[in-house]
């Protein structure tokens, strides 16, 4: 395990630190611990480089230091009736904007307008040799140069130290309403998710909890419109549809990965599609110490596991399905699970972005 975490207070201190250490892993508040440890690297936390630098509500953009807590951003945006539609994860746990980008995590709201990658416009970061790189831009539309910001979404801190981030934001819908739809089977749930996703309703989120065989549908917009749409869904699926008065707590439990009553300290993200779900969901149901939540209309699954033992099983199952997963919480040996394709271009890109090999290999 790494030694103490260095916490530079400004850009100069960060550059000095970068120059003095041979291998560095940038971290935020380490809310996704398996991604924020490395036994050979000096951990450098960006948490003191925090705060919103620019916010122009009428531009739909803001720029913040990488160490800014997501909670702070959410609050400032909310004051101006705006938001990050992709539901950043682990907000209460203390996630920073930089950590969210590095981990590439998006919550249930990803369904409607796209994920973190789609709202990230620009990044100022330090390359391993201390150079300041300004990638992307600060306007909502920009096609100049390579889209390095997108590449950094999910790059796990292995290519540079992000210092400032510019995001696109959207107007916050005035109301949200959620209903729970009881399903009879996985197949039934998948059919209903698909029907809902292709419907005229333009839903805000479509999630599924296999444990209770329930699909959760969220509408967002003016109250009177939400009510009409919810009524239509209720008429369609009859008694299977139940209102969710405590919906906000439910969605928050998904975002915080803490919906389970059991002590399931490990959490993994798995990008999914129907073939993977048909293998993953039955496994989760049959395995003690595993609780699965399917989000974004079946595009991603979050697996909570009790111990490394279940994570190992999951690793095996994903490998069989040629699918990659990422452990984001828990005391685990290796965050990469399942099948990660090895391609020559990956090492060439690593050399291009990090010629001095300042950051650990993925």
């Amino acid at each position: 395990m790494s030694e103490t975490v260095a916490v530079p207070e400004n850009l100069d201190a960060l550059q000095t630190l970068l120059a003095s250490e041979s291998v560095v892993l940038p971290v935020g508040n380490q809310t996704k611990l398996p991604l924020a440890v490395d036994e050979h690297a000096r951990l450098v936390s960006l948490r003191e480089l925090s705060g919103i630098l620019e916010y122009e509500p009428s531009e739909f953009t803001f720029t913040a230091y990488a160490g800014t807590p997501v909670a702070e951003v959410n609050e400032v945006l909310r004051e101006r009736q705006q938001y990050l539609p992709f539901d950043p994860m682990l907000v209460k746990a203390g996630a920073t904007m930089g950590g969210s980008v590095a981990a590439g995590l998006s919550g249930p709201g990803r369904f409607r307008y796209g994920g973190l990658r789609d709202f990230l416009l620009g990044i100022k970061f330090l390359s391993g040799d201390g150079e300041v790189i300004n990638a992307g831009g600060k306007v909502v539309k920009n096609a100049a140069g390579f889209d390095i910001p997108k590449f950094m979404a999910g790059s796990l801190g292995r290519f540079g130290v992000m210092v400032e981030l510019t995001f696109k934001v959207f107007p916050l819908p005035s109301h949200r309403q959620t209903i729970a739809v009881q399903c009879s089977s996985l197949a039934n749930a998948m059919q209903r998710m698909s029907d809902a996703a292709t419907s005229r309703w333009e839903l805000d989120a479509i999630d599924y909890r296999p444990g209770t065989n329930t699909v959760f549908l969220r509408v967002a917009g003016p109250l009177e419109v939400n009510q009409v749409l919810v009524q239509e869904i209720s008429d369609l699926w009859g008694q299977d549809v139940k209102p969710m008065p405590d919906a906000e707590a439910f969605w928050q439990s998904v975002v915080e990965l803490d919906w389970s009553d059991s002590d399931l300290s490990f959490a993994a993200k798995i990008p999914t599609h129907p073939v993977v779900l048909r293998s993953l969901v039955p496994w989760a149901e049959q395995t003690a110490g595993v609780d699965l939540h399917v989000s974004v209309a079946g595009s991603v699954a979050w697996a909570l596991c009790e111990s490394q033992h279940e994570v190992d099983q999951l690793d095996h199952l994903l490998a069989e399905n040629s699918t990659a997963g990422l452990v984001v919480r828990g005391d685990c040996r290796q965050p990469k699970i399942g099948f990660w394709a090895k391609q020559d271009i990956a090492s060439a890109v690593k050399m291009a972005m990090d010629p001095t090999m300042k950051f650990p290999q993925l």
Binding site: A143, F146, P271, T272, V349
Partner: protein
């Protein structure tokens, strides 16, 4: 002269073309000011043939330019004089369309509009809608991260590309992303999108499809000044609405469109604003009331609400034809694609007007006002000595203004040949150096679309400019 023997053995003779007359069709693209004649044009019909051609180019250090329909407005598919063109139009298979997963997997030569056509029976569509969508191909859209009128709400092409199998310039075949909109690890798909053909060629592209909006509410509003139209955009945005499209045209652009397609825009308007809301019936009913209230405060002198789909399309026809219509006002023109922060739109327009006056060059303006994406249209007569150069000087000033205002030199057309000298003005040396290193990682021999995006000494020959042949025929139009 490079021997092309190895390359010619990959293709049957009718798909390995060195015939001068045939090649002439590939000399130029949507940026007609530039042209260059390639050594040969190869026309693969399978992904394996593309891979073989790229590997041959890599091994023999022969440059290649991948090309779809050649509609690039930045000269992105301009051939290289000592290289080959890989024409991808025959790789036009829709490999898979899965309505339940809401994805389509397509070959690069599939035409943008055809994806939406194929998805339509399932109530789905492919959101990015460049104005050339009736002919432009997905491969080119991916390479240039194309935009369209609906980017504010749904983003550009890269927001809709979730996976891509590609042959890189080294000949390595890679799979990026997959069938899920979510992924783990660095986003290679995102990096590949918008790489302007410098990394390689997409072979199988996985696209995200969206449900077709149930209802559109399209309003055309006339203003006595351009500034008032710009202020109206801010008012709409500040009201909390998120329109699918927010477009402005100035008097000159309106005049051209009117002459070309008789679109019936309000006579005497100094500017028109098009606002389009889209979504479920009830939501649009609610939002249109909100929009009416906002527009009522903006000093508009005329308003036309599309009463049906035909009427909506007629409003859009004026907008979408505007640029090719300018061909009626001027024998030649350059179209620019700069971006400024939305709040500085008014200031930018005043400065454009000033530059136009000072230089004596007429400039028409059409723009995606919602995202600050300007399309100034610089008119000139190529037959007059030095006219093109003067127009280019004005274009350069406009681009520098966008950079100074904190915007971008391109919102959706890409850098290509046209703006390559401006990239180092937008990005500092260390960022440029990193982009150059990235390019070399994908293409150590610099064979993939050389001369694009990065400043280069290889200047393509300037030729006649004017409307693209397809524009003249009214098949395509510019954003």
């Amino acid at each position: 002269m490079t021997s092309l023997d190895g390359l010619s053995s990959i293709f049957p003779s009718q798909r390995f073309v060195r015939d001068a007359a045939f090649q002439a069709a590939f000399e130029s693209d949507g940026l007609t000011a530039f042209r260059a004649k390639p050594l040969a044009v190869v026309i693969p019909e399978t992904a394996d043939e593309v891979v073989a051609a790229v590997r041959w180019c890599h091994e023999n250090s022969v440059p290649f330019v991948a090309r779809g329909s050649g509609t690039s407005l930045s000269g992105g598919s301009l051939p290289v004089a000592d290289g080959i063109v890989i024409a991808l139009n025959r790789l036009n298979r829709m490999i898979e369309l899965d309505p339940s997963e809401r994805i389509a997997i397509v070959e690069p030569g599939v035409v943008n509009q055809h994806v939406s056509d194929a998805a339509a029976p399932h109530g789905l569509y492919y959101a990015p809608d460049p104005s050339s969508q009736s002919v432009c191909t997905i491969g080119g859209n991916v390479a240039f991260n194309s935009g369209g009128a609906h980017c504010l709400k749904y983003g550009m092409t890269s927001n809709h590309v979730i996976g891509c199998k590609a042959v890189l310039a080294t000949g390595e075949v890679v799979t990026m992303g997959g069938r899920s909109v979510e992924a783990v690890g660095p986003d290679y798909t995102g990096l590949f999108c918008g790489s302007e053909g410098l990394f390689g060629i997409g072979l199988e592209i996985t696209l995200r499809l969206l449900p077709k909006p149930e209802r559109f509410h399209t309003v055309l509003v006339g203003y006595q000044s351009l500034l008032a139209a710009g202020d109206a955009v801010s008012a709409v945005i500040d009201s909390g609405l998120l329109p699918g499209a927010l477009e402005i045209m100035d008097a000159l652009a309106i005049e051209a469109a009117e002459a070309a397609v008789a679109c019936g825009y309000p006579p005497g308007a100094a500017a028109v604003l098009i606002v389009e809301l889209e979504g479920p019936e009830e939501k649009i009913e609610y939002e249109r009331r909100q929009l009416n209230e906002v527009l009522a405060t903006t000093g508009a002198f005329a308003e036309r609400v599309a009463v049906d789909e035909a009427d909506r399309l007629s409003i859009w026809r004026g907008r979408k034809s505007a640029f090719s219509a300018v061909g009626r006002l001027s024998p030649d023109f350059l179209v620019q694609d700069g971006v400024v922060p939305r709040k500085r739109l008014g200031e930018a327009l005043v400065r454009i007007e000033q530059m136009s006056r000072e230089s004596g060059i007429r400039v028409a303006n059409v723009f995606h006002a919602g995202d600050g994406n300007l399309h100034p249209l610089i008119m000139f007569d190529g037959k007059q000595q030095g006219a093109l150069e003067r127009a280019e000087e004005l274009a350069a000033k406009l681009l520098r203004m966008c950079i100074d205002m904190g915007g971008s030199i391109t919102g959706e057309h890409g850098v290509g040949v046209e703006k390559r000298d401006f990239l180092p003005e937008m990005f500092d040396p260390s960022t440029m150096a990193m982009m150059e290193r990235l390019r070399l990682a994908f293409d150590p021999k610099l064979v993939a679309n050389p001369g694009k995006m990065f400043p280069s000494t290889e200047a393509p020959s300037l030729g006649l400019s004017g409307l693209h042949p397809l524009e003249k025929a009214g098949v395509i139009s510019r954003e």
